[in-house]
Amino acid sequence: MTGSATWMKFFAVGAMALALTACGGGKKEESEDVTARLPNPDPYPSTYQPWASTPTLIEGATLLLGNGERIDNGAILMRDGVIDKVGKTGEVKLPKGKGEKIDAKGRYVTPGIIDAHSHLGVYPSPGFSSMSDGNEATAPNTAGVWAEHSVWPHDPGFTRALAGGITALQILPGSANLFGGRSVTLKNVPARTVQEMKFPGAPYGIKMACGENPKRVYQNSGPSTRMGNFRGYRNAWIEATAYKKKWDDYAAKLESGEDAGDPPGRDLKLETLAGVLSGDLFVNMHCYRGDEMVQVLDMAKEFGYKVSAFHHVVEGYKIADRLAEEGVCAAVWADWWGFKLEAYDSVRENAALIHNQPNGCAIIHSDSGVGIQRLNQEAAKAMADGRNLGIDIPEREAIKWLTSNPAKALHIEDKVGTLEAGKMADIVVWSRTPFSVYAKADLVFIDGALMYDRSDPSTSPRTDFEIGQEDNTMLGGAGQ
């Protein structure tokens, strides 16, 4: 990620603010003033806390590490919420022999599945209009809305996704607008508030949309054409550039001790866009057509920002070389198509062709409360279709589409996405290879805590909405 320097800056600022709060202002006065006089970058902070865990050793499993490696007869030790050690069975031991030992002979272990594109919580079940909170379709640029303010943590869809091995997911606003608003990355744990789900340390993203959706939604007021879409993006970036400069100048004056005067006026929309320009927010760009994506890449250069991932990317295979050259990930469905003309030129080999480029970054996403429950099957189909075209992608590679690649696109790859020591212990034990329709997530751990156990209904979450409803809560929970 080329924007990582600025992204780190964002976290430095955020961390400083936290440190100052914690230490009661132990740092020098000057920098406290600077931080306090700039907009709080994290006003709805994560209150996520890992659930209780015991040291757990899983042995005898096939490990797909998510970094391209595979260990047969492997073992993995989780301790204090993190992955402690990964290796061959026999080489990894429980500390002092204490903790849980799970015999996973014949089973597979993978990193927790990460869905880069979900609308759970913002388009929840039930799908009543009163709960339809995913598209602020009132203006083509609503960059000022934040998806987390729509997320209903009691959406039963979260529990279904958990049973499918989903441990983290990005919740996006919908695609009605050129700028849909901020996304939020969550840990998939049952919670009372969205803050209790927010992935600690995950940066914010923004949702943008190409093509048919914005021009259809605003056909009367504009944009009503694809060129109108681009005028809308570019005008917004021009405005955001000016806004960013005002705040940068103000911050620079504060920093240098000059009289900075009154702070510039805040604008939530431009604050989010300026965050993209400074690299603090990553860009999720809903785009289907290859030609349009290449235009977006030019626009990103024009205004000095970076697209983290295109989403849907039905024509990704037509420009897979360009995506790989630019280091942009492509989040795709395995085989959805035909609902719009821009989704007409779908090929089942899309993910494989994107992956097959040097440095190609394919992601399988769901965009669906049903699909999110079986992302492993979607990856399996895409892998098989690649093979049919002569692109042989082994399981140890294809698992990246669900783990390390989405982690990269969401900029949490230093924390999750692979089975490597030191990373958060978000892992799934599958009944067999996950690249099978018969595979089931038997055990799902999040930060080392067992959050779902298929064999034990007491670890099968039932949401508030469902509890006590006729013939629902007796189903075994999580829709099983």
């Binding site: 079940s125 009543f128 897979a320 099978s436 469902e466």
Partner: protein
Amino acid sequence: MSTLMTKLFKSAATILAAGAFSLSFSLSVTMAQTIAITNAEIHLAGPTNAPRTISNGTIIIENGLIRAVGPQVEAPLNATVINAEGKPVTPGLFAALTSVGLVEISLNDDANETSPDWGFPLSASLHASDALNTDSSIIAISRSGGVTRVYTTPNPGDKLFGGCGLVMDLSGSDNPISGDCLAQSAVMGLSGARRAGNTKTGAMALLRYWLDEALIYQRAPGTFRSRPNDTGLSLPDIQALVPVAMGQQPLLVEVNSAPDIRRLIDLQQEYGLKLILVSAREAWRLADELAAANIPVIINPADNLPENFESMGATLANAARLMDAGVVVAFYDNDIGYTHNVRLLPQLAGNAAANGVDHEEALAAITLNPAKIWGLESELGTVQAGKIADLVIWDGDPLEVTSRPTHIFINGAEASLENRQSLLAKRYKDLTRGDRPPAWKGD
């Protein structure tokens, strides 16, 4: 009953005619050609009280039909032999409910004939066959996934009824219809309520009213014409509902909640209707009643979200519980894959198999059971001598998501696996700039 029987009889004739038509187009196969598929793991999808599979079996195809099936069958000398190399062979997949041929692009009015705009006066009298696009790209794309037959139907606009659908083969023939106007489509439950003053009481009252009108018309068509008509249904629609009200033509009803299903079972008894339930998320709660009433259901076995208060009991166990009770169950995708991804039927069946349905029964839900539901059981749906040769050879377990067809036979002729998607993939597989533009890379 006679109307339906006539139609079925016609449909059988159509099938044979269609078979001849498509065969005449094939360079490699002639009508007289005999094909032997040898060394096959045959999944018969046949009766449960007989062996379900034959290993190392042979299937002889002749004149569009399966002539013989078995472990000891000899390939005739004149046969073109296809060695399946131990791989599975199944009946061609039969999609129980789609709008194939009625839609090319869902969100494009110019390429979507599935349902009329709100306010359009006609409904029950609409015929899928009047708009059927036999050139739809979905046909070849679905075929490459092993689908050989589909039921395709218009869906309701702002009325309770959508019109009647048909069964077609996916050979690519210009004349693919195997059975026309086989059922009337309708919506009840919340979908019905939306079309009836936003109440389910309104939907049920309207349904009765229109069935009654159809019966009144049927008894005295002449006097009916002079009656004041305040039903919101025009005369052609009422005429179209006569075979439904008489119990001759099935009524395909989308419904979900157990109470709504219970009410429809009552209505079936009252009117003598032939019902087929669609979606039916809570059908498992009435599995025994549905089995006793001989009402088949078409469900998405992966449908487990409480979308609203009529789906609180949605569960992955729906298929297994219904099938255990003896209900005839077929699978469809009620979501974005409804028409464009009928090629994913094996994934639906695989998920049913992963959630308590016997593997061969899950296969039957995408082969035999749709044939039963659409009255084509004697011609289609299983690998049995005498049936139409719709067959698929797979490179692995047919219900596994990593398996793909290697050969497809429709009406006894081998059909192409190629389609515009496979051609696009080939065109763009190598992106290095050559001497000629990609647009010159063709078929």
